[in-house]
């Protein structure tokens, strides 16, 4: 009852509460201010002490050095370019000697080549022999190579004929290269 009647006592309590919240509010705002200013200063110091200017100077120096080494750079690039192109050429250029060797190695001595044409894609040749067995042996050997699919893609017998007067067998073969 007295609390309700004694207004002064109640007011004192209110003032005390208000003063406490004021202090808290003030403290919070000051802490915020300190934090903000501190952060801004830290960021500024970080920016000022950045390594960027020294890196830019280093970059300029290195670029200057490279400028003097530019002829060497171009030479190196040309060498690498030429070597790449040469590598491709050496890998892709047809090896006619190897092709001739493969075909001639299997040829029996009784077979005589009358014409022979080699390109990068196929071999066409005409040969003659008096021995049918030799012709058969040779053709079988070439077909076996074609079946292996290592050197030849195909071996097509274009023509096989016999000259009864001389007893000579003549044949034409078309070999597709891989």
């Amino acid at each position: 009852m007295s609390e309700k009647i004694n207004l002064l006592a109640r007011r004192k309590k209110n003032v005390a509460q208000q003063s406490k919240s004021e202090k808290t509010f003030k403290l919070v705002s000051l802490v915020c201010l300190v934090l903000v200013v501190g952060t801004a200063l830290s960021l500024y110091i970080l920016k000022v002490t950045s390594a960027l200017p020294s890196l830019q100077t280093q970059e300029k120096q290195l670029l200057g050095q490279l400028q003097t080494l530019y002829p060497k750079t171009i030479k190196l690039l040309i060498i690498k370019n030429r070597l790449a192109a040469i590598g491709t050429i050496l890998k892709n250029r047809p090896d006619l000697v190897k092709t001739i060797d493969i075909i001639q190695q299997k040829k029996p001595q009784s077979i005589v080549t009358s014409s022979f044409e080699v390109s990068s894609t196929d071999v066409t040749f005409t040969a003659t022999s008096t021995s049918l067995a030799a012709v058969d042996q040779y053709l079988n050997a070439l077909v076996a190579i074609a079946n292996e699919k290592k050197a030849f893609r195909s071996a097509d017998l274009q023509n096989l004929s016999l000259d009864p007067k001389t007893g000579t067998y003549s044949f034409s073969l078309d070999i597709g290269l891989l």
């Binding site: 201010l33 060497k72 040309i78 050429i89």
Partner: protein, 267 residues
């Protein structure tokens, strides 16, 4: 007392409110200033700093590449680089090397002990550096096709082909036609390739020559030693002096040029 109260309440309402909430208002203003500082100073500064860090990182890696490139280039000897450059450009010239063909073919024939008949080739446009890339996929190729007629045994022909594969400029036999009387018709191609436009990018690291490239260079240097010196007197082929016809549709070159055994061109 009543006068005092009356004076206090006679003031405008905002003054009264200010006096009552003075502490709060000051704190609020401070908080607003803080917010403004965060928005207008700290956030842009942080962004700026992040950009600086990103730039630093980029620059660090770029400088590392540049420094590596400098070290690599400094480690390369000028003489060694020049000799390698000479080897590769002789092996694969950028422009049509008809002089190389004129020296290479008779020399190959001499080594293989085969007789070569007249041979001719079309040089074409000599101004190949201006060739447009739109001419086709192989527009940068400047190959010279040479048709040869050889007289020699099968072994001599094979030796000719083997020697031809090591001649400079690099060549390839595309087509070989062997008749019954040791007449060999040969279609050859001497390679040349235009140099591309080198776009040197500072940020790309230069690669040193790999082991594979060095091995290829050694092989080419070996072949180069087997090739005749262009300034020296070439070995005389068994056949008579070949007649070489140069046909150029755009450049006015005298159509027939004879090559003497000494390598001098006579019109």
């Amino acid at each position: 007392m009543s006068e005092h109260i009356s004076e206090q309440y006679d003031q405008p309402i905002y003054v009264i409110l200010y006096q009552k909430y003075k502490a709060y208002i000051v704190s609020c203003v401070i908080l607003l200033i803080c917010a403004a500082l965060v928005y207008y100073v700290i956030l842009p500064q942080y962004d700026d700093l992040q950009q600086t860090w990103a730039k630093e990182q980029v620059l660090r890696s770029k400088n590392k590449i540049l420094a590596d490139n400098v070290v690599l280039l400094k480690s390369l000897q000028d003489t060694s680089l020049d000799s390698k450059l000479e080897t590769v450009t002789l092996a694969l010239p950028a422009e049509k090397d008809y002089a190389g063909v004129l020296v290479g073919v008779p020399n190959t024939a001499a080594i293989a002990r085969t007789a070569i008949g007249d041979f001719s080739f079309v040089v074409g446009d000599l101004n190949t550096t201006q060739k447009s890339k739109t001419e086709g996929v192989d527009a940068d190729e400047n190959n010279i096709s040479v048709d040869l007629l050889l007289k020699g045994s099968e072994d001599a022909t094979k030796l000719f082909l083997q020697t031809l594969s090591k001649v400079f400029p690099l060549a390839a036999a595309d087509n070989l036609s062997l008749g019954s009387v040791d007449n060999v018709s040969l279609k050859t191609k001497f390679y040349a390739k235009l140099l591309p436009k080198f776009a040197y990018d500072d940020e790309k690291p230069l690669q040193p020559l790999t082991a594979k490239e060095n091995a290829l260079l050694e092989q080419l240097a070996l072949w180069q030693n087997q090739n005749p010196d262009r300034n020296a007197v070439p070995a005389a082929p068994p056949a008579a002096t070949p007649t070489v016809a140069l046909v150029s549709p755009t450049v006015q070159v005298t159509p027939v040029i004879s090559a003497t055994p000494s390598g001098a061109l006579v019109r």
